[in-house]
């Protein structure tokens, strides 16, 4: 009987611990690096969320620029550089020549832009949703959040709608081909939609920019107008572009930049800088400086260390963003000026004609201490001036398409490593929407 009693007691005690177990496992100390969503429904936390949106913009923009300027051959994955080893950079450099679709769509470099871009867009939208019903938020913070949510939400949509593509531009896009018709195929989805083309995306972008303008400073308004002008220019909406650019950034305006720090580094440091040189500027930029040494004031290059170059000839690395903290120009008054020059000089907008266009081009050159050009302002001049002025600012891709000037062959040093340099360029004219989207989104093939 004693035995049975003891056994019964132990059994009871053991099962009494049953409920204690649940309390035990849930009574853990909180994590220090994450918080739950609802804790952010607090006016005090809105500045923290605003900064998150800005930070994500910078994170995406620097990576997007490396990828787009690589496929657009401002940057070259040149295998004479010892540290050039990433196959995904090679694929972008080659516009995915000879690469199977499965490889194209699983490019880690493209995924590294596309995935955080989606997150960046959500952060901007979430900020607007959160402040919509938030009580106790002071007006200044609400205005700032409204501006940031709308402006950066619009920029995110610009990135989504203009830089990506569902397919290569045509079944045999041809080697060396790719013009405005390819530009029309660019686009991306939002929230698992079908691809929203760049032109259609404008209906998502412009209302947000208008909402941002409602709370924007005069400088911020001019920045928005320059962005509108850029997008309209790419889409061939020259009238709208001219109207926007006329109210765009003005000489003396600070550039609108993405900001970087050691902890949120400029990607060029690791892809094309002292962190690691995998890609270098196309060698035509050396030529620009050779032709006019003053061009070095805006096309900033630096000779790469010899020990990293497996060739007798020196190679140059970009020096636009020399350190991790280097800010990146996103919109400048010089770009606005060149937009107006193009529109006046070769697109028939406004009444200024060649004279005004040339003046604007030279005004931009003068801002860097570079002597004037004689003109005329034609497509070649605009293309070259934009190539230099907007060096490593992610717009070259669109200029090549607009001016039907895509390169015919793969850039790089012929014979270096396993380089395909000299072979026909591949068919992609935008960044391929990755498998991560294709495989989940029922509206994308």
């Amino acid at each position: 009987m004693k035995k049975l009693s003891l056994l019964f007691l132990v059994t009871i005690l053991s099962f009494a611990s049953f409920t204690a177990c649940e309390d035990f496992v849930t009574d853990t100390e909180p994590q220090i690096d994450v918080i739950e969503d609802e804790l952010l429904n607090d006016p005090e936390q809105i500045p923290f969320l605003i900064t998150g949106v800005e930070a994500r913009f910078a994170f995406v923009y620097t990576r997007l620029t490396v990828a787009s300027d690589l496929i657009a051959a401002q940057l070259v994955f040149d295998e004479v550089m010892d540290l050039a080893t990433f196959p995904t950079y090679r694929e972008l450099n080659d516009a995915f020549a000879g690469v199977a679709d499965q490889t194209v769509f699983s490019s880690n470099t493209v995924r590294g832009v596309y995935t955080p871009l989606g997150g960046y867009r959500l952060l901007a939208d979430n900020l607007l949703e959160r402040i919509a019903d938030l009580e106790g938020l002071d007006q200044a913070t609400r205005d700032r959040a409204t501006y940031v949510g709308n402006f950066y939400g619009a920029v995110a949509r610009y990135f989504i709608g203009f830089y990506f593509a569902e397919s290569a531009c045509g079944a045999n896009a041809g080697v060396g081909s790719g013009g405005p018709e390819c530009l029309a195929t660019l686009g991306g989805p939002i929230d698992e939609s079908a691809v929203i083309t760049a032109s259609a995306m404008m209906s998502e972008i412009l209302p947000r920019l208008q909402a941002a303008k409602a709370v924007a400073s005069p400088y911020q308004t001019r920045v928005i107008n320059t962005l509108e002008a850029r997008m309209h220019l790419f889409l061939g909406n020259y009238g709208e572009a001219f109207a926007a650019a006329q109210s765009g950034m003005e000489q003396g305006d600070d550039p609108f930049q993405s900001l970087h720090s050691v902890q949120s580094a400029n990607e060029f440091f690791f892809a094309a800088g002292d962190g690691r040189i995998q890609v270098i500027p196309n060698r035509r930029f050396e030529g620009y400086i050779a032709d006019d040494p003053d061009e070095a004031n805006r096309v900033k290059l630096r000779q790469a260390p010899d020990r990293l170059v497996n060739d007798d000839e020196p190679r140059f690395q970009q020096d636009m963003y020399p350190v991790q903290e280097s800010p990146m120009d996103f919109l400048t008054w010089q770009e606005n000026e060149l937009i107006l020059a193009e529109l006046e000089g070769i697109r028939g907008q406004g009444g200024g004609g060649q004279g005004s266009a040339l003046s604007r081009v030279n005004n931009v050159r003068s801002s860097h201490g570079i002597g004037p050009v004689a003109g005329p302002v034609n497509a070649d001049l605009i293309l070259e001036e934009r190539d230099k002025e907007l060096f490593l600012q992610s717009v070259r891709m669109f200029d090549l398409l607009r001016f039907n000037a895509w390169h015919a062959t793969i850039p790089g040093t012929v014979g270096a490593g396993s380089s395909n340099a000299g072979n026909p360029i591949g068919p992609w004219r935008g960044l391929p929407i990755p498998n991560d989207e294709r495989n989940q989104n029922p509206n994308i093939n």
Binding site: F18, V25, V34, T85, A100, L122
Partner: protein
């Protein structure tokens, strides 16, 4: 009144006195010897079960039990390593002589093994497959770096894959078919009841290799290792036991007659070398690669003192292992101290204390997927023009990073770790036992990674950089259980176990990186000019469970158990607060119920079914959580993770059936077939990035099936005083098939090679198959003919694996042990070869380019072949198979056979005895041996036992500039006093 009582009491006492005085008694005396060798067995137990009295044999192997009432009794004679003998003996008045011959337990049937969380039985009546490694036997003559070396090849169904050949790096266990899809697929490991940390610690640099926390554990302290290989046996260990449970028991003291001490001193000196030089000839930079290896030293010393009495026993040891890797900057200095105590203050109380302290400093080199690794800078060497003006392959070595820079980098992890447990056992009444224990594993790691200024390294340039990492891991294991054993009816014994187990783990980490140091002489991180980054983490997790088990044993012939565990864990989603895991098992001794031939000494059938789980990630059950990101704008909020509040553990079910037999008293056979089914596997679904959800969201929708067969065969054809030969074969077959991903897309590793995909095996290499070369109409090479869709082409986990062992003793004291390990139907991705080709450092590739006229470097002297000829076509086919754009070309069959261990040992005990020195030196052993002595493999790379991404990632079987295992030779002397 008092007088009335006194008289009867007096008469009663008197009667009792005379009845005792006149009862007849006898004594039992005799000797216990080894039946085969005739050697006396010192310390054997002779026990009369009816009277619960017994005696041990003395130094002459003799025993005496006095004052035994005349009668007939059941006597049980036992000794470790021998088959227990039970017989009936008649005791008559006076002296009774009963001499016993015990036979060796060659097949281990009498060995007491762990069969569940609170159960130990002899192997003969176990209902589940059990595996034991008698560590003490192996460590007596050989020196093992860590658990993986000791266990490797010794247990069917437990395959150990090192991440590479660096000393102190991580290891990966493959237990059976791997349980579920989730988790790292690693068993839970306990040391003396302490659930220990089995992480692989990664961080900056190193290209994927991490420090293995198991490297802190000294195998010389270990007495035995029991392995429960799957849910059928490990169900009562609950969640996280899905990949098996490894139970390490450290050495404990034994009572020594006269209160003496056992003192053992051992020293091992060894040398390691890279010996697969032939494999380097495929590269252009053969010599440069060869030059990065060195002869490495091993210096291992151990001293232990043990002893005890009736009331207290102790074991204590001190150990130091200094081991260099065969690559510069790879070194381990490990010091271990252990003190174990067992106290028996009362007959019904046992207190056991285990305490182990280790200090382990490990230096690891950068390698693998890394531009500052030795192999990366010698294999990925571009062609250059030599002094003679000719193009030479592999000339530009150390193109990424100069050798002096790589040499100058210092990377050292220092860990101080304490493993301690206290166990209290109380037996308040007969056959009732209460056990309470607490275990603690506390480890503090400090990692320093220093790149001195003045040396160019990608990233910091010549500015110098220093990173420090601190990691504190503390985990507590609490166990309480009660066991009651009783007879229901004569012959039918039963046992009831109930208990609880709780586990609490806290990890906090800090890391800090600064750059730009003015001088290499001051390494204080505060002297760095530029702050690069810093972070800290903190995680507290808890698990708990309540378990019960009921067992029945009918005359050691029919055994049956059932039980279950209700489990709780902090990581389970809010909608699924706990989970139940059942188990049931049975066994029948056919040799007791069937009329078997005499040569069939033992035959048992067993079957067991059990379930365990695999926990979700800690945050998987959260709805949406935010983290902070640093930026030039300040610190901002970003969505860190979107989870699933309904998430619950993956459930793994296992059914195993087995047969164990002993034939001719010499042949042991242990066969097991198992089936594993994982349900509710946690599949992390990638959301469309356009939704803004950037993490993978977990859902319980997956499933994977596994099955396998394990066989262990032991055979002792010769056994006598002077000669004994033990042969062993261990074999395991395993297969898996992913059955469900809930509609998710295939889950790939970072290199898009290993996949989790429906219809494929776990981690299958999943790539488009290459058919060969394509040709133009004129017969010239046109490219690679490959399939457009992916398919499974091979698996990085061997389908068949095992070992052959032989232990031969001759001339009484000279013994030799040999162990061959093998893996069959195994594939490895040779990414090293891929990059050698990309860097034009692969001569065969250049030869083919010249033969095909497609741009060779002119270094081979081969003539261009004529398109359309057989030679041209053959060259084109081979060239297509070297195209680096197609992964299939580099996924190679990598079956291997290795002479893993060979040792020769001589025991000078008899010699000492003849000298009369055995009263001073009780034992003297001298051994020579080696590991990884020979390798035969189909793999064309340097070595197939590598994985560039360390021991935990989804990437498996990928060779990418990974340090290969080395050959080690050693010489050991051990003395006993």
């Amino acid at each position: 009144m008092l007088k009335k009582l006194l008289l009867p009491l007096f008469l009663l006492s008197l009667t009792a006195f005379f009845s005792v005085a006149t009862a007849q008694t006898g004594s039992l005396t005799g000797s216990v010897i080894d039946r085969a060798t005739g050697e006396t067995l010192v310390g054997a137990t002779v026990f009369i079960t009816d009277l619960e009295r017994g005696a041990p044999t003395n130094i002459n192997g003799e025993y005496t039990i006095d004052n035994l009432p005349v009668g007939s009794y059941t006597i049980r004679v036992s000794f470790i390593g021998y088959r227990t003998l039970t017989e009936t003996v008649a005791i008559s008045a006076g002296e009774n002589v009963y001499n016993v011959e015990l036979r060796s337990d060659l097949t281990g049937l009498d060995e007491v093994v762990v069969t569940s969380i609170a159960s130990r039985t002899s192997r003969a009546v176990s209902e589940v497959a059990v595996a034991r490694v008698d560590a003490g036997r192996f460590t007596e003559t050989a020196s093992y770096q860590d658990l993986s070396q000791l266990v490797s090849g010794k247990v069917a169904g437990v395959n150990v894959q090192p991440a590479g050949g660096t000393v102190g790096a991580g290891i990966r266990f493959n237990v059976r078919s791997g349980g579920g899809i989730g988790g790292a697929g690693q068993p839970v490991i306990y040391v003396d009841g302490i659930r220990i940390d089995n992480s692989q610690l990664t961080g900056v640099g190193r290209g994927g290799q991490g420090t293995g926390t198991l490297a802190d554990i000294n195998m010389d302290e270990v007495e035995s290792i029991d392995i429960l290989k799957g849910p059928a046996a490990a169900a009562l260990y609950g969640t996280s036991g899905s990949n098996g449970v490894v139970l390490i028991t450290t050495k404990r003291g034994q009572a020594v007659a006269g209160g003496g001490l056992n003192v053992r001193v051992r020293s091992t000196q060894g040398w390691s070398d890279f010996v697969r030089e032939d494999q380097l000839e495929q590269f252009g930079s053969t010599q440069a690669i060869s030059d990065i290896f060195r002869t490495a030293r091993l210096d291992h010393r151990n001293v232990s003192i043990s002893g005890g009495s009736e009331y207290i026993r102790f074991y204590t040891s001190a150990d130091q292992r200094l081991e260099e890797g065969t690559m510069n900057r790879n070194f381990m200095d490990r010091q271990n101290f252990r003190a174990n105590f067992d106290a028996f203050p009362r007959e019904d109380v046992t207190i056991s204390i285990s305490a182990g302290y280790s200090w382990n400093a490990v230096q690891l080199p950068d390698n693998d997927n890394n531009v500052i690794g030795y192999l990366g800078n010698t294999v990925l060497a571009t062609p250059g023009v030599n002094d003679a003006g000719d193009v030479e392959l592999g000339l530009n070595t150390f193109g990424f990073t100069a050798k002096e820079s790589i040499d100058a980098i210092e990377d050292e992890s220092k860990t101080t770790r304490f493993l301690g447990s206290a166990q209290f056992q109380y037996r308040p009444i007969e056959n009732f036992e209460l056990t309470a224990s607490i275990g603690y594993d506390g480890a503090s790691l400090r990692r320093d990674n220093s790149i001195p200024p003045g040396f160019f390294v990608t990233g910091p340039g010549t500015a110098g950089q220093r990173t420090i990492v601190n990691r504190n891991n503390q985990q507590y294991t609490y166990d309480f259980n009660a066991r009651y054993s009783y007879d229901i009816i004569p012959g039918l014994a039963a046992s009831t176990v109930v208990g609880t187990q709780m586990f609490d783990r806290t990890i906090d980490t800090q890391n800090f990186t600064k750059r730009t140091f003015a001088t290499p002489l001051i390494t204080n991180i505060g002297a760095g000019e530029d702050f690069i980054g810093g972070s800290e983490g903190f995680l507290n997790t808890r698990e708990a469970g309540v378990f019960a088990e009921q067992s029945f044993n009918y005359e050691n012939t029919y055994m049956f158990s059932f039980g279950g565990r209700q489990d709780f864990a902090a990581a389970i989603g809010g909608d699924a607060p706990n989970i139940f895991y059942p188990k049931v098992s049975a066994a029948v001794r056919l040799d007791n119920v069937a009329n078997l031939p005499n040569w069939a000494n033992f035959l048992k059938l067993r079957a067991a079914y059990g379930e365990t789980g695999q926990l979700p990630g800690f945050n998987d059950g959260a709805a949406r959580i935010w983290g902070a990101t640093n930026s030039a704008y300040g610190t901002g909020g970003i969505i860190s993770f979107v989870g699933n509040t309904g998430i619950k553990p993956e459930r793994i079910k296992e059914l195993e059936i087995g047969l164990e037999a002993e034939l001719f008293e010499k042949l042991g056979l242990d066969l097991t077939y198992y089936i594993q089914r994982a349900e509710d596997s946690i599949i992390d679904f990638r959301q469309s990035p356009s939704t803004g959800i950037t993490n993978l969201v977990p859902f319980n929708v997956g499933g994977i099936n596994g099955n396998g067969f394990e066989a262990q065969l032991t055979y002792t054809p010769i056994e006598n005083a002077n000669t004994q030969l033990d042969l062993g074969i261990t074999y395991a077959y395993q297969d898996t098939e992913v059955t469900d991903l809930g509609g998710a897309q295939p889950i790939f590793d970072g290199f898009s090679l290993n996949v989790i995909e429906v219809g494929e095996r776990r981690s299958e290499f999943y790539v488009p198959v290459v058919n060969g070369a394509r040709f133009n109409d004129d017969g010239t090479y046109a490219g690679v003919d490959a399939e457009s869709e992916r398919s499974g082409v091979g698996n990085p986990i061997p389908v068949h694996s095992g070992s052959f062992t032989a232990n031969l003793r001759v001339l009484r004291n000279l013994s030799a042990y040999v162990q061959f390990d093998f893996a069959y139907d195994l594939y490895v991705y040779n990414n090293t070869k891929v990059f050698a080709i990309l860097f034009r450092n692969y001569p065969r590739f250049e030869e083919l380019r010249e033969q095909l006229g497609i741009g060779g470097l002119g270094v081979s002297g081969f003539d261009e072949l004529t398109p359309g000829t057989a030679e041209y076509n053959a060259a084109a086919e081979e060239y297509a198979r070297l195209n680096t754009g197609f992964d299939d070309n580099f996924i190679e069959r990598a079956d291997w056979l290795k002479l893993r261990e060979l040792s020769i040992n001589y025991n000078f005990r008899d010699f000492l005895s003849r000298l009369g020195a055995d009263s001073y030196i009780t034992d003297l052993n001298v051994s020579v041996g080696g590991r990884n002595l020979l390798t035969s493999t189909k793999y064309s790379g340097i070595d197939p036992e590598v994985n560039f991404a360390g021991a935990r990632s989804l990437s498996r079987g990928q060779d990418f500039l990974t340090m290969p295992p080395s050959r080690q030779l050693y010489f050991t002397v051990s003395l006993g006093f």
